[in-house]
């Protein structure tokens, strides 16, 4: 709504002169029926176009509500059987129909936030480098394309790479710090996830940094600020809501990532005791067990897991939106 009003204002203010001219023209053309017909047609086309875009936009809302409705309806059986205890139940036993999602909820949150924590220094460094230090040239271009390529690689390839390269490295690290040398686990998944989510925060961050008005920066420089001081006191405060939005985008990606995590997390339903322990995430449990879920309650419990994941994403997004607003003000 806001934007349409803005557009009207703009067109009105710009075209007062033109409008006078055109209205004069129209008065001249009233005699010609052809002209009137065309303007009728134009009005109709305007209306059809407006209705089309409104319907298409509403369809998106309908789609999300429809998905949510499906998840709720399909998980009613499990909600009836387990109740709210589903959220903090610690056992997931399909044989005896005991379903508790706590270990997977914990696994999802642990891997995602740990990954975010690891990725932030890298994505911010890339964003500042590309946005402020070297916005043009072959090296920044190469770096930019490479970072974007990271987002384009299919996640199963990350899974293979993790299994073949990262797991042995983590295992030798674990041997050195005296924890059980498994290699697979929460920590390894977080590392993989961190690599996968860097591009999201980095590319949004660098375009935000490029948008900082030059006169602000120049004013700071003219007062004798060093580059670091400009970044710290001008660029970062100016772009923090954009940087935060990028981080939020990364987190959303990390929460839902399935394939790569499944391959390196170790897939146990036990509650992880440390970040080096194996665990499981909601997305990978669904991917693992959905095909062979052979009785109705089991299937329904898996769908409820999807519902919980959906709600976790919604809640985190809402908190993020609020924080972004707070930063902006």
């Amino acid at each position: 709504m806001e934007t349409s009003i803005d557009n009207n204002l703009i067109t009105r203010s710009e075209n007062i002169l033109e409008r006078v001219i055109t209205s004069a023209k129209i008065r001249d053309a009233v005699k010609g029926i052809k002209r009137i017909k065309r303007s009728h047609r134009q009005i109709r086309a305007e209306n059809v176009f407006r209705k089309t875009i409104v319907i298409v936009a509403l369809l998106m809302v309908v789609l999300v509500l429809g998905i949510m409705l499906t998840l709720v309806l399909q998980s009613i059986l499990s909600i009836k059987t387990t109740g709210l205890a589903y959220l903090w139940g610690k056992t997931w036993d399909p044989v005896q129909d005991i379903f508790g999602a706590y270990p997977f909820l914990l696994g999802t949150l642990l891997t995602s936030f740990l990954a975010l924590f690891i990725s932030i220094p890298f994505s911010f460094a890339v964003a500042i480098f590309l946005g402020e230090y070297y916005p043009k040239g072959w090296l920044p271009n190469l770096l930019k394309n490479t970072v974007e390529l990271i987002a384009a690689v299919p996640s199963v390839i990350y899974g293979f790479w993790g299994l073949a390269v990262l797991v042995p490295i983590v295992r030798s690290l674990e041997t050195k710090i005296n924890v059980a040398p498994i290699g697979l686990g929460i920590f390894t998944s977080s590392l993989i996830l961190a690599v996968m989510i860097i591009p999201y925060a980095a590319s949004l961050g660098q375009s935000m940094i490029k948008m900082v008005p030059a006169n602000l920066k120049e004013a700071a420089y003219s007062l004798g600020a060093t580059r670091w001081e400009v970044i710290r006191s001008v660029i970062l405060p100016y772009t923090k809501s954009g940087l935060f939005a990028g981080v939020l985008l990364s987190l959303g990606r990390a929460l839902g990532e399935t394939m790569a995590v499944t391959m390196v997390i170790g897939n146990t339903s036990l509650i992880p005791k440390s970040i080096f322990a194996p665990g499981n995430t909601m997305a990978s449990v669904i991917a693992n067990e959905f095909t062979e879920a052979d009785h109705p309650v089991y299937l329904s419990a898996l769908i409820e897991l999807g519902l919980v994941l959906f709600l976790v994403t919604v809640v985190i997004n809402m908190i993020g939106k609020r924080l972004t607003k707070k930063f902006t003000n």
Partner: protein, 363 residues
């Protein structure tokens, strides 16, 4: 006014889309659709992933000889049974017999025809250890319960005299995805260990007391290969194709049996009930490998449903008959165990009970 109209349209759209999603999820869909010559000459199947390499070889050979196209989707036993229940496929395939809940969801009786057999082997990774390890049922159950923790445990040493076992920690690997392999393995453990039965039980996915989950045979194999001291269970075909080390297992008769095509076929050399539904795990056969299992093709006993023609039903039955006879020659090369003579004769008898409009199809 216009905005009210738009909202009304949106509400209607919500209801319609929501409705479509729900029916979509409930499974059936309209299925095969209009009939033509091509659908008449195509058989649709879905189910177990374990026999997929063998079935696709069989169907390709049958297509060359008889021109019948078979489209088999290896989506997992559970999925195959669901599709058969909603009648979107002509036959299902499963590594387990139907359980009570699946049975009651069916609108008509289904018959189980044994089509091939396979085994689950215990694979391990002990570097610098060249001998074949012996396992007893008790040792296997206790390892997977997390009670035996070291490779040089006295219980393991007792059945492996003369070999020097390392003091390595045992690292258990299991399947993370629901699978028929897990079902056969846990069914076996439930039979041989009361403790396993009460603590864990049997199913295509269970609550594992210890260990790491890997996706698919390759996931478990990868986990075992990478971890010194690792132990896991994979299909025989997979283990022999990948040259993995696997142990001998003591069967009910007390013999230590190395899993092989011959010992798996031997496991099925027992009295098989007339309905073909038998678990070969912990077999009575003296030279049979104890973690063996049949894999079944499932079809409706009465073939006249959903406007199916007699011609199509006959073609499908002939295909299945060919699979359990001539088709078995392709087993060995692909590391599947051919059906035992007893299993084939039971399969023949079951096929003769399949009817079209009340009359037997095969004579």
């Amino acid at each position: 006014m216009k905005s009210i109209k738009i909202i009304a349209v949106a509400v209607v759209a919500t209801i319609v889309t929501g409705g479509m999603m729900l029916t979509g999820c409930n499974g059936s869909g309209s299925g095969t659709g209009a009939k033509s010559d091509s659908t008449e000459n195509t058989i649709l199947g879905a189910g177990a992933t374990f026999p997929y390499p063998l079935y696709s070889k069989m169907f390709a050979e049958y297509n060359k000889a008889n021109g019948l196209k078979v489209n088999y989707q290896s989506i997992g036993s559970g999925g195959g049974i669901q599709q058969l229940t909603s009648k979107t496929v002509d036959f299902g395939a499963s590594d387990a017999t139907l359980n009570g809940k699946q049975d009651s969801a069916l609108s008509a009786p289904v018959v189980h025809i044994p089509a091939t057999s396979g085994a689950v082997v215990i694979t391990y990774n002990l570097p610098d250890f060249k001998d074949t390890l012996n396992f007893t049922p008790e040792i296997v159950a206790r390892i997977f319960l997390g009670e035996i923790k070291k490779w040089n445990d006295p219980k393991i040493a007792a059945v492996n005299k003369g070999v020097k076992l390392p003091a390595t920690d045992i690292q258990v690997a299991h399947r993370s995805d629901g699978s028929g392999t897990t079902n056969i393995f846990t069914t076996y453990l439930s039979k041989v260990s009361p403790e396993w039965e009460s603590k864990v039980g049997k199913g295509s996915a269970v609550n594992w007391p210890v260990g790491l989950g890997g996706k698919g045979n390759e996931g478990v194999a990868g986990s075992v290969k990478q971890t010194p001291g690792g132990i896991g269970y994979v299909e025989l075909a997979f283990a022999s194709q990948n040259n993995m080390a696997y142990g001998k297992l003591q069967n009910k008769a007390g013999n230590f049996i190395l899993p092989s095509i011959a010992s798996v076929t031997a496991a099925a050399n027992i009295e098989i009930p007339a309905d073909g539904k038998v678990s070969l795990t912990n077999t009575d056969a003296t030279d049979g490998y104890p973690i063996s299992g049949l894999s079944w093709v499932l079809i409706y006993k009465e073939q006249k449903y959903n406007d199916r023609s007699l011609d199509k039903a006959t073609k499908m039955l002939k295909l299945i008959q060919w699979m359990i006879h001539d088709g078995q020659q392709y087993s060995g090369a692909l590391n599947y165990a051919p059906l035992s003579a007893k299993a084939v004769s039971v399969g023949d008898a079951i096929l003769k009970t399949v009817t079209y409009d009340g009359k037997p199809i095969l004579q």
